[in-house]
Subunit: 234 residues, 2 copies
Amino acid sequence: MPHPNTAGHPNESDAGHEVLAGVLQVRDDQLQVMLWQRAREPDVHRWSLPGGRLAATEDVETSIRRQLAEKVDVHKLSHVEQLSVFSAPHRVPDRRVVATAFLGLVPSDVDPEVPADTRWHPVEALPPTAFDHEQIVLAARDRLRAKLSYTNIGFALAPAEFTVSELRGIYSAALGYQVAPTNLQRVLTRRGALEPTGRTLPAGPAGGRPPALFRFTSRDLQVTDPFAVFRPPS
Amino acid sequence: MPHPNTAGHPNESDAGHEVLAGVLQVRDDQLQVMLWQRAREPDVHRWSLPGGRLAATEDVETSIRRQLAEKVDVHKLSHVEQLSVFSAPHRVPDRRVVATAFLGLVPSDVDPEVPADTRWHPVEALPPTAFDHEQIVLAARDRLRAKLSYTNIGFALAPAEFTVSELRGIYSAALGYQVAPTNLQRVLTRRGALEPTGRTLPAGPAGGRPPALFRFTSRDLQVTDPFAVFRPPS
DNA sequence: GCAAAAGTGTTTGTCGTACACCCATGA
DNA sequence: TCATGGGTGTACGACAAACACTTTTGC
């Protein structure tokens, strides 16, 4: 599977522009990122983010969605947003390539088919990565963690319906520490991000009260805590 | 003063990459942005952000600082940060140009010399702008407003030393509504962002208590309100 | 003394956290 | 009825906003 970075097209005189995505999902109670293993130089066998060259007729977001579609069923992507530009002159050897990096999210209840060279890796235990891709993965992780605090971005990591216990597992994996289910439910509900479906799941084998199913009220990104001090007179 | 966008160099086969900055300053109690008036097609006479082509040996931040140095004394810039990429295929006519946009800030007590084609314009009353530059100015404004709430970014708009009354004017202009001096001082002090110098200014002509001078404790950007809900157990 | 401007003290409401307590189920 | 896991009620602390009150100056 050739990758634009490795091409070295002779008639590419100018700086190239590529798009790259850190696609994150909570799998096995860990935050993981989708990487593919390079089959040729440079950086053979090292692990690389999905993406590729920006085409003439697309903007960067259209481009990253198109290129991700070659790796995974793009309908499974619940959220995509721009991170920042990585532009160190020699971040890729030989050619000048400026990269626009994205964060992509996949809900925890789907297991999209991926190509043979592609694997999920825990963000906290990355394999050897190509170029500056580790830095981009960490930027994606940090953006996700920040937004879990003040937006409803959890919708993009969670299934359509879930118990508070499951949601707690997802938030704990993404944030890297345990969160209390009591306050998770209360904060998200007070902010209007979470609502009960009215339905419940059967109790587990060890007994216990049957858990209620919840859903996010919106599946679009919204800022739920404007955290604005110095607010305008309302 | 030729601008890269207008060049149309014949041997530019590939997509170009430019950097642009929305440089903001509070002037005359208004948030204003630095723009230069184009002297040639396309978009003649329309107002444009400073910036230009990314050179082969620089990253985007080095590039925008270099290009701003051609417009203003770059030492007067108190803060520069990346905003996002603007990449609509025809955002600039004829050539494909991807832009990385920046926010730049200048303290309110300096009046840097600028070229003859360059003027400051109130962000709320922009003249006709070139290409998608209005959108970039608004993105810069919005980023500044957000960060005034949860960081110490006020240091980049304020003089080295100032009275609470002056700082109130700066925040009010930047945010677009009146803020109360009492709480401004209290919040910034509690967060450790502000400290008294111990010195005072003479009272005004109408009398009144002489105001104390304050300074920001740091002149580097710091997040003063982590606004993190779901905090890790401390 | 009085007006004007600056700065402090106090109250109130909101919100996140912690923790005790109650609920619903299986064995 | 007891253990287990789920959900709610309540108390506490932190903090921002509003506003009254005190301080320090010029006239």
